[in-house]
């Protein structure tokens, strides 16, 4: 129990003293995760919208696959990305293994299905109410997808936050593909793993505290968005 209290005290001190090492890690975490969320959004939202508005053979299968990919074990994703980007792998020439780039790639693979699935659900609901109007106005497929993405932006923001929440706390994949290299690929979660194994609970708890703080901030934002959604059906 002493470890916990001592650790908490040291962690708080580190946070309050704006410890350079700590903030470097936090900043890198945010950079990697936000990049991953942004890239995943660019893939997931059009895909979700497309699945919502198109009727093609195999659509149900595609949706089922997308939904089951939500449960991809991060460690397995890490392993696969590792193999693909290792020197002998097909993308080995790019020499991206153990760089923040592969960490972003792994996170994109992990969170894209979640974000696409939420987007598909939200956009599908909106399409059900807009469909007749869009057909009547002879909107093109592209215009249809665009108006749905724009008007479902609140739900899509939630999808982004869900992806962010999953990615920022993820450790299995990025530890494998990033390698937890000091000042280069070390992020919050991999640092916690390292400090814990070294027995430096102070730093580990400081990092863990910040991770929790990020999660709380995230939840406050989600709560704010969803509650304003409830009181008003929509707003600008």
């Amino acid at each position: 129990m002493d470890d916990l209290w001592n650790g908490l005290a040291r962690g708080t001190a580190l946070v309050l003293s704006f410890d350079a090492y700590l903030y470097e890690i936090v900043l890198r975490s945010l950079k990697v995760t936000l990049s991953a969320v942004l890239i995943a959004a660019l893939i997931a939202f059009p895909v979700g919208a497309w699945l919502a508005v198109s009727r093609f053979r195999g659509r149900r299968t595609a949706i089922a696959i997308m939904n089951s990919l939500m449960g991809l074990p991060p460690v397995t994703v890490g392993l696969m990305v590792y193999i693909l980007f290792s020197r002998s792998g097909p993308f080995g020439v790019l020499e991206l293994l153990f760089t923040p780039a592969t960490m972003i790639i792994a996170q994109v693979i992990i969170i894209t299905p979640i974000m696409a699935s939420i987007a598909h659900q939200a956009i599908g609901d909106l399409y059900a109410s807009y469909r007749d109007l869009l057909v009547s106005l002879t909107a093109t497929r592209w215009q249809t997808v665009m108006v749905l993405i724009i008007d479902a932006r609140r739900a899509l923001l939630l999808a982004g936050l869900a992806g962010f929440g999953r990615a920022i706390g993820e450790v299995g994949a990025i530890l494998i593909v990033g390698g937890n290299i000091d000042h280069y690929t070390r992020v919050l979660t991999t640092a916690i793993v390292l400090e814990t194994s070294k027995g430096d609970f102070g730093l580990a708890l400081g990092l863990g505290g910040i991770l929790i703080l990020l999660a709380v901030i995230l939840n406050i934002i989600i709560h704010h968005i969803t509650s304003s959604e409830r009181t008003r059906t929509w707003s600008p």
Partner: protein, 238 residues
């Protein structure tokens, strides 16, 4: 088979939903001009008929040819839904949306949109969210959005069914204006009195069949079928 014509032609149209036949078989030629009121009791197939004309759904069998313009392309249609379908956006954005689709946004689009909003009396509400409008205002907004593309054909599905007298009057006046500038209007209603006020031609539908179709004065003065005459009398088909 596509035939050149200036009016809607229905050829042995059958339409069903969930295995139940809603319409047909119907073979009918619409007149080229006029203000056609499609009347009939609930569930007669009025809405389905309009949706087929507007290509919102396809018939199970049969063929519908659309009115073609001089250049051989189908004439521009607009549709007004019974339950307003509005974007989750402002009044202005809703009215401007058809123009945004075809021409993007520009100062001219803005000007035109305001003109049509003024025409339906919603110019003061242009910044409000469409959802916050009253039922009558929503229907007026739908009408502005329908008219902004200057359609040759205007199709309306019971546009005044849930509205009070004043809103109904406003909409009827706007429709009369459209009729005057030679817009082809096809509209459903359950309200026989409204049909009398507006129609140049009446199509009476019952149980998925066109029972009677005639010029308005002839239809109301001398209905040919007992079903039509009882519907004219008290809105019930015996």
């Amino acid at each position: 088979m596509v035939t050149m014509s200036a009016s809607f032609q229905l050829e042995k149209i059958i339409f069903s939903r969930d295995g139940r036949r809603i319409l047909g078989p119907i073979t009918h030629s619409f007149s080229e001009r006029g203000f056609t009121l499609v009347i009939g009791p609930n569930g007669a197939g009025k809405t389905s008929l309009l949706r087929l004309l507007h290509k919102l759904q396809e018939p199970d069998s049969g063929y519908i040819s659309l009115p073609l313009g001089k250049n051989g392309v189908p004439q521009r249609q607009s549709f007004v839904f019974q339950v307003p379908i509005l974007l989750h956006r402002s009044v202005f954005e809703n009215a401007a949306y058809p123009l945004h689709l075809s021409r993007g946004s520009s100062a001219q689009v803005r000007e035109e949109t305001m003109h049509y909003l003024e025409m339906v009396g919603l110019n003061d509400n242009h910044g409000a969210m469409a959802e916050d409008l009253s039922g009558g205002q929503k229907q007026l907004l739908q009408l502005a959005r329908a008219l902004i593309t200057r359609p040759k054909i205007l199709i309306l599905d019971e546009p005044t069914s849930n509205l009070d007298g004043r809103s109904t009057q406003t909409i009827e006046a706007l429709l009369a204006d459209q009729y005057r500038i030679d817009t082809r209007i096809i509209m459903t209603t359950q309200n026989v009195v409204q049909a009398r006020r507006l129609a140049s031609e009446v199509i009476f539908i019952h149980e998925g069949q066109i029972v009677e179709s005639a010029e308005a004065s002839a239809f109301f003065d001398k209905p040919l079928t007992p079903q039509a005459s009882s519907f004219i009398q008290d809105g019930i088909v015996r």
